[in-house]
Subunit: 106 residues, 2 copies
DNA sequence: AATATATGTAACTTTAAAGTTACTAAACAA
DNA sequence: TTGTTTAGTAACTTTAAAGTTACATATATT
């Protein structure tokens, strides 16, 4: 696995990482407690966490030898912007259709 | 390039495909007119379009030998659900914070 | 009919993401 | 101090996404 920083879209392209984000929406978790829920080695989970951290999806607080991961809003911003753009597109399209229908009804 | 169907998240992980979706939000375009805007071969664009089509991001209307591509809402649904989930998460978190602050102010 | 245009497909190469195992380092517990 | 737990890193392998070129096919155009 490459540890080079991935962009927000690449980050959520991986199902395991999306699953990790979902789990972290319930409670903050350590690397090991996350790893318990996945069918992959602990180092693999560790690298996913590094990627999530690097892209601003989570923050990490070290408590002794444990690393506590919790969600961070920053990473989601680019995705929200993308989706918002197309939400507006579909809304505009719908309005145009309504206008056409209204004109026909006259 | 594999032509196997990719999920919605994998589809938008590619910057070229996101760019294609942005362009199609302005106007419907043929494969060639799309390809003119990218620094890659026409077959490469053709395969991206196939992927976008396969995941429900675009519909295609054949007119003679031309294929006219236009946006289709279906492909965006899964992404919207994902983002909505976390939008709600942040909103809930904000409300909890407000409650705490209000209690302190008493 | 011959030619040009628009597109798809097959076969191939390159690259990097995702995983593995083995090892290291730091914090804690005995 | 010795051993256990938590986590990161290095080196490596596998796989598939992304691109290429060459060729095939169908529709227009002349």
């Amino acid at each position: 696995m490459r540890t080079q920083t991935l962009d927000a879209f690449q980050v959520i392209a991986d199902p395991s990482r999306r699953q990790m984000l979902m789990m972290l929406s319930k409670e903050s978790m350590t690397i090991n407690s996350l790893a318990d829920n996945f069918d992959m080695s602990r180092p693999a989970v560790s690298k996913h966490i590094k990627i999530l951290y690097g892209a601003g999806f989570i923050s990490i607080t070290d408590i002794g030898r444990e690393r506590h991961c919790m969600l961070k809003q920053e990473g989601f911003n680019e995705l929200q912007n993308f989706i918002n753009f197309f939400d507006k597109f579909w809304l505009t399209k719908l309005r145009k259709l309504e206008t056409i229908l209204n004109n026909k009804a006259k």
